[in-house]
């Protein structure tokens, strides 16, 4: 459990990472636009927001680390630009991952709202600075 008295808020100047499984086809560098909004669709477990990693605490390779043996891209964002677009960004460190953060604006329960759909398109087509990878998650 995180110590909430010592949580460092996400600064506007911070860089954020969002992991994207290669297998989904949500990022295809040869397509235009290459990134699809499904990469930011909240999963059932995203009850308080979709997850991102803070570059301040997390390397690209760490942010890309997922299921062993699978490959991942990492979409890169600027926290301040997300906030200008109306998206909240909140630090939410978890055990073993002090750089974990969330975008509470995108939660499972509001995933079908007009605003959530428009934000997902905005993230994919306007706010993403670049996509890095793919990175391979090593077998354990």
């Amino acid at each position: 459990m995180a110590d909430f008295d010592t949580i460092e808020p996400v600064d506007d100047g911070e860089i954020l990472y969002r992991r994207i499984p290669v297998s989904t086809g949500w990022y295809q560098p040869d397509k235009q636009p290459p990134l699809e909004p499904e990469a930011f669709r909240p999963a059932q477990s995203d009850t308080s927001g979709i997850s991102v990693s803070r570059a301040k605490y997390t390397s690209l390779e760490q942010a890309a680390c997922g299921r062993p043996g699978k490959d991942y891209y990492v979409a890169v964002f600027h926290a301040g630009e997300l906030r200008v677009a109306g998206l909240e960004v909140t630090a939410k460190p978890v055990e073993g991952n002090p750089g974990h953060a969330e975008i509470p604006s995108l939660r499972y329960e509001n995933r079908k709202s007009r605003q959530a759909i428009e934000w997902r398109f905005l993230l994919a087509h306007r706010l993403c600075l670049r996509v890095e990878g793919p990175f391979h998650s090593p077998q354990k």
Partner: protein, 152 residues
């Protein structure tokens, strides 16, 4: 022209609930596609593109788990079968193959077409509902959903 028609407003009947898959697709696409006018047959390029989409769905169907990940639900074989049926109906109606066909991350499949600033999506949800939506750049212009289960 088709997307402009959808952007300007739907002429969809609201009281009739379509039951069969072709009826459901026709209902959802009615604002975009005039099914009463015969369409020119698909070019060979689009016919090949549809075959590629069907081959992709078939490959996913052999191993749906390849699409699953942490918190990402892969489409079931049933869903992929439904997506193949939808693809076949669209192809047989001479609709161009979608620019993208991807899992939605929640057990469903998305067919997506793009034209200039417009993005038109047909989404098959895990619960059997179907939704069409039109985006102009990053703004949602309109969407229509059919919640009832399709009969295959």
């Amino acid at each position: 022209v088709l997307i402009e028609t959808l952007r300007q407003g739907s002429k969809m009947p609201v009281l009739e609930v379509p039951q069969t898959l072709p009826e459901r697709i026709e209902y959802l696409l009615h604002p975009v596609v005039d099914f009463e006018t015969a369409h020119a047959p698909l070019s060979e390029t689009h016919a090949v593109a549809w075959q590629e989409r069907l081959d992709q769905l078939s490959a996913w169907s052999r191993d749906p788990e390849q699409l699953s990940d942490e918190a990402i639900e892969a489409p079931s074989r049933h869903m992929l079968g439904l997506a193949m049926d939808v693809a076949a109906v669209l192809r047989d109606r001479n609709i161009e193959a979608p620019d993208r066909m991807i899992p939605n991350g929640d057990g469903g499949i998305v067919f997506r077409w793009r034209s200039c600033d417009f993005t038109w999506s047909l989404e098959l949800e895990a619960d059997g509902s179907m939704e069409t939506s039109l985006m102009e750049e990053n703004k949602l212009v309109c969407r229509h959903t059919l919640h009832v289960q399709a009969t295959r």
